[in-house]
């Protein structure tokens, strides 16, 4: 088994950026696709509506509940398992002065504390006096390729790592047009003396382009630059909807890839 070098540029619970070196573009794309389509998450799939006198149809409520991210514990459930949730909210009574009561995702009661709404403040439906919503819902563990609501990753993508090299000085009368670049750059030691704003560039230092407002002329004023893609180095940007942490999402995506590779090896073995 080959080891890969992984370096984090930003790391949070729901959003992260990391650099992976020495992987092929095909493998990078495989990881991306596995994160989107192959990591199962819980999502409401079926409703048993007891009472719905709100302004929305049962199906519309069902769609909204399906999109609410639910926390998914690792290795506790199998694909196809269900967890029952319930929601019971009533519109304002006569004595209350408010005009509407809103049912939030936080009002959902779960039968299993491991599976609960990841965000509490998502409005499901506004209820007027006399209106009521009472239902039971089955959340199913399934994969993103079955339905987009089961995707754990949001806007998952990658870019080449880019290397910026200073090749010379800009001519005195050259246009000072902005040089826009997005992603993460790797700086070179040769640029050391020439840095404009921000920290001093060290060899191989990774700088997200936000640091200089995506404009290379801010970081290297008056320099003639050459930007090249670093071969086989990819910067992943991963965001999750809250059902899993970034760490869980990435490791489970890689595990699913490995699982399928091993299955293939076993299947073709003589």
């Amino acid at each position: 088994m080959q080891d890969y070098e992984v370096e984090f540029v930003e790391r949070g619970d729901r959003e992260a950026r990391f650099l992976v070196r020495d992987i092929t573009p095909a493998f990078a794309n495989g990881i991306r696709r596995a994160m989107i389509a192959d990591v199962p998450t819980f999502s409401v799939d079926e409703l048993r509506v007891v009472e719905n006198s709100s302004v929305m149809f049962d199906e519309q409520i069902g769609l909204r509940l399906g999109l609410v991210p639910l926390t998914t514990p690792v290795d506790e459930f199998e694909v196809g398992d269900t967890v029952t949730l319930s929601l019971d909210v009533q519109g304002p009574g006569r004595e209350e002065s408010t005009e509407t009561v809103t049912a939030y995702s936080g009002d959902i009661v779960t039968s299993d504390p491991m599976v609960e709404p990841a965000d509490e403040n998502i409005p499901i439906i506004d209820l007027k006096p006399g209106q009521r919503l009472e239902l039971e819902a089955d959340a199913v563990l399934d994969r993103g390729r079955e339905h987009a609501k089961h995707q754990g990753g949001v806007a998952v993508g990658y870019r080449h790592l880019q290397r910026v090299e200073v090749v010379g000085e800009k001519g005195e009368f050259e246009d000072d047009e902005p040089h826009i670049l997005r992603g993460v750059i790797e700086e070179q030691e040769a640029a050391h003396a020439s840095a404009g704003s921000g920290g001093e560039p060290r060899n191989g230092e990774l700088v997200p382009t936000e640091a200089f407002d995506h404009d290379l002329t801010n970081r290297y004023p008056g320099k003639d630059l050459e930007v090249v893609d670093v071969p086989n180095a990819f910067v992943f940007h991963v965001e999750t909807d809250g059902s899993l942490s970034v760490d869980e999402l990435v490791t489970r995506a890689v595990d699913s890839l490995r699982g399928r590779a091993e299955e293939l090896r076993d299947a073709v073995q003589l």
């Binding site: 302004v55 509407t100 998502i122 409005p123 949001v154 909807d241």
Partner: protein, 64 residues
């Protein structure tokens, strides 16, 4: 009618930010741009979900 739970384009959960965005930017006098930045709604696909939304429940409710 109600604010969409997720962004149509990227699938990010935007519904949870609606009420704060409404009180601060739509009803309040803060700049929508800074409010969205502070809420962490970064991409323009997610931003348009909140900027262009109008609650219609109050308008529809009498015709039940």
């Amino acid at each position: 009618m109600m604010v969409p739970v997720r962004c149509f384009t990227c699938g990010n959960v935007v519904g949870e930010h609606w009420e704060e965005f409404k009180t601060r930017a739509k009803e309040g006098d803060e700049d929508p741009e800074t409010v969205l930045d502070e809420l962490g709604v970064e991409r323009h696909c997610c931003r348009r979900m909140l900027v262009s939304h109008k609650d219609l429940v109050d308008i529809v409710a009498p015709y039940q």
